[in-house]
């Protein structure tokens, strides 16, 4: 049974990989870059899917955990001379530890407390970066990047551009994250999370160690966030202005719009938050909307969509699709 799920997930992951790879080949460099951001956001939103959608905990500080990943990655590259993929492994490890520490605190907290606390943590990042400026580079940050593609890859694929390489370098990690997420979603652990979310007391009566489960969720979610953060930093810089609070909010918006409880929703959400501003910008250009209005239109529209979603269709786009499908069965 478990084996069958894995095969199915393997196929899904492979299709995902192939489709993105194809898109990476056919789209223009700008959209290749945007697509790589979609993948990074997708990984980041997955962390919210698990944390909030699957276990009912809300964090407004996923950006902070992304920063843990980003800074670890940058320090690994700059100080230890690692290459980026070695450093990413360290990033994930570091964020797992950070998530564990955060989880120990968080497991004691209910939703709004957790939201506020994580928000404060996210806000303290610039202070930390400045306080330990010699290590973290202050508000100027640390310069890192994916670098040039290895020769064997160029030989295999052909000449590739800067944005394209970003995308292709991110894709394997996004695929691994997806495969991991798919399996986790259907696993015993996934079911326990849902149980904790839906009824904490009932779950504990059923023999689930609620505290430990919550901490574990945090650890897993942090792993995703750390990976996303490392990739996001490798686009060019790791610094406080790369992981602002608004990043956490963007990811949360994506998660909610796409659908908090589905992996497909996480991807839809990532696509939305990346491409919606582009769409609005081009529309407000077409309709010749005054700059003063147009400048704020993306923020306005995504905020309105966020509220409409939670009020009218809390399950998000993916949830709506699912509902639609099951009704017509």
């Amino acid at each position: 049974m478990f084996k069958r799920i894995q095969t199915g997930n393997l196929i899904k992951t492979f299709i995902f990989f192939a489709v993105i790879f194809y898109l990476g080949k056919v789209s223009d460099p700008y959209n290749q870059g945007q697509l790589s951001v979609v993948l990074m956001y997708f990984i980041g939103i997955l962390s919210i899917t698990f944390l909030t959608g699957l276990s009912g905990q809300i964090s407004l500080g996923q950006g902070a955990l992304m920063a843990v990943g980003g800074y670890t990655c940058a320090l690994g590259i700059l100080n230890l001379g690692l290459n980026y993929w070695q450093s990413i492994i360290f990033s994930v490890l570091a964020s797992l530890v950070a998530g564990w520490i955060l989880g120990i605190t968080a497991a004691r907290l209910s939703g709004p407390y957790l939201a506020g606390t994580t928000l404060v943590i996210a806000l303290a990042i610039p202070s930390l970066a400045n306080r330990f400026e010699s290590v973290f580079g202050g508000d100027v940050g640390l310069n890192v990047e994916f670098g040039a593609p290895p020769q064997w890859f160029v030989n295999l694929i052909g000449e590739i551009g800067f944005e394209q390489w970003q995308l292709f370098a991110t894709l394997p990690f996004a695929s691994i994250a997806l495969f991991f997420a798919l399996n986790l979603f259907k696993s015993r652990t996934g079911r326990s999370w849902r149980a904790v979310r839906d009824h904490e007391i009932a779950a504990s009566l059923a023999g689930i160690n609620v505290q430990r489960m919550k901490i574990f969720t945090f650890v897993v979610a942090s792993g995703f966030a750390g990976l996303a953060g490392a990739m996001y930093g490798l686009r060019g810089i790791v610094g406080p202005s790369v992981y602002p609070i608004s990043l956490s909010l963007t990811l949360l918006t994506g998660a909610v719009l796409g659908g908090l409880r589905s992996i497909g929703g996480a991807f839809i959400g990532a696509v939305l938050v990346v491409f919606l501003p582009d769409l609005i910008e081009s529309l407000s250009g077409t309709w010749e909307i005054a700059l003063q209005i147009g400048n704020y239109l993306p923020a306005m529209v995504s905020s309105i969509l966020l509220i409409l979603t939670v009020v009218l269709n809390p399950a998000g786009i993916a949830g709506g699709l699912h509902h639609h499908k099951s009704r017509h069965k």
Partner: protein, 465 residues
């Protein structure tokens, strides 16, 4: 380009149709090939800045002013028949977004050059990539000195003097003029504040934490505890307070100090933070009448490389102001330092573009022949544009009282500043009656008096390059 080699690959995968689009490359572009963003009728320039968000106030006026100047140039027929189009992207001062907006400008808008980018933290995230692609990155609105070493960033040029340079000049002036006064500093804790500290140190002014120096968090505009910092300076008897902060923060500082009854003998404010209009607007919305806020500003020392926006006698100010009135379509076009800066960048850019397309210009030995030939054909290339700026730095016109010092060894803009004090009409006037411009570098070079004579502006307010 390696299209043929990659074609066979893609056939293997079976995606033949999409091949060509997918194989973008960064290969070296020869100096005589046509570059993106330039056509027979148009030159596309790209700019990114915080148009919205916490860091936007004030700065969101610069792009409107630049566009106004370019619209003016276009109304006069453009440059060599080419009109200038300015594409502006809002990065909300978040580096993660800057990378995307830069990519959009490069790949979607296909800009010829980046111009006037605002934001040190954000520009760091893209400067490497822009340079690697050999895209001109001109007139960056940041005084962060690390940006302007051509060995690291060959295509990046500044639009300001560096914070270090300015602080060195102001520091020397204060030290000599007020040898017996206790001088302190209030600075925002970021690269700007720290660079200024470094410059003052090079001028021999150092400050003792908690005694003569106090910092506050950049971007909070004093909302957290500015009063305490001022009380500290007051309690320690600091007689001259230097402010290294943005204009809105300077405004809160002066107003808070006045509320606390703290009246140091002199305020000395780094130019970025000494915009009189911002100060008077903020004071005005606090219910302080213009006459009173003008009185508060009187005697405040600042430095500038350019004329004060309030200096109505200055021919550049008059000309730019008129263009602003006629062409600025921004939400807020009130005449101030930010608008003036935008105008000046538009002016400098126009000069540089004109010069590049002028067959009589000279370029570096390496490119001279090609670029002159290009100019004859009215072909604008990135290589020649950069070469022109680097080779003819001192010939590019600007409203500044100091020459642009671009060369093969530095891409810093202005090495010179003059020290002024605000008069009762909120115009910065030279402290010594006549304007003396001092120059120095961002390193340990000496501060000397400049003998540069600013050329007169043409009647049509277009650079003559």
């Amino acid at each position: 380009m390696n299209i043929r080699a990659s074609l066979s690959r893609k056939k293997l995968i079976g995606l033949t149709a999409v091949l060509i689009a997918g194989s973008m490359t960064l290969a070296e572009i020869p100096a005589n090939a046509a570059d993106p963003g330039v056509s027979a009728t148009e030159i596309v320039l790209g700019m990114q800045l915080p148009e919205t968000g916490a860091a936007s106030p004030g700065y969101n006026k610069v792009d409107d002013a630049m566009r106004a100047y370019f619209d003016y140039v276009n109304s006069k027929g453009g440059i060599g028949g080419k009109k200038i189009r300015l594409e502006v992207k809002d990065d909300t001062y978040k580096a993660g977004l800057t990378i995307s907006t830069a990519s959009s400008l490069i790949n979607k808008e296909k800009v010829f050059a980046f111009i006037g980018s605002i934001g040190t933290q954000t520009h760091i995230s893209v400067i490497k990539d822009i340079n690697r692609r050999k895209i001109p990155d001109v007139f960056v609105n940041s005084g962060f000195s690390d940006f302007y070493n051509p060995a690291t960033y060959p295509t990046t040029f500044a639009a300001l003097g560096t914070y270090v340079t300015e602080a060195k000049i102001m520091g020397k002036y204060l030290k000599e003029k007020y040898p017996d006064k206790k001088i302190g500093i209030l600075y925002q804790s970021d690269d700007f504040g720290r660079n200024a500290l470094e410059g003052f140190a090079k001028a021999g002014l150092t400050f003792e934490a908690k005694k003569t120096s106090a910092d506050f968090i950049a971007g909070t505009q004093g909302s957290v505890g500015l009063a305490s910092q001022l009380t500290q300076l007051k309690a320690n008897g600091v007689e001259i307070v230097i402010i290294a902060a943005v204009s809105s923060a300077t405004a809160v500082t002066l107003l808070t100090a006045s509320a606390l009854g703290y009246k140091p003998d002199k305020w000395a404010v780094i130019s970025v933070g000494s915009d009189a209009t911002t100060f008077q607007t903020i004071a005005g919305s606090k219910g302080i009448p213009a006459s009173m806020s003008a009185a508060m500003l009187t005697g405040l020392i600042s430095a500038s490389h350019a004329p004060a926006p309030g200096d109505s006698a200055d021919e550049y100010v008059t000309a730019f102001k008129k263009i602003n009135d006629d062409f600025n379509k921004g939400a807020d076009k009130r005449w101030d330092n930010n608008v003036m800066q935008g105008m000046n960048i538009g002016y400098m850019a126009t000069g540089a573009l004109k010069g590049t397309l002028n067959p009589n210009s000279t370029f570096s030995a390496k490119n001279n022949k090609t670029c002159q030939a290009n100019a004859k054909k009215a072909t604008l290339t990135r290589v020649c544009f950069i070469d022109y700026i680097e080779t003819n730095g001192s010939k590019i016109e600007s409203a500044a009282f100091t020459a642009l010092q671009y060369s093969a060894t530095t891409h810093e803009a202005f090495s010179g500043f003059w020290i002024g004090a605000y008069d009762a009409a909120t115009v910065l006037q030279p402290v010594s009656g006549t304007r003396v411009v001092y120059t120095t570098d961002s390193g340990n070079g000496p501060v000397t008096v400049s003998n540069y004579k600013r050329p007169a502006i043409a009647a049509d307010a277009l650079p003559k390059n």
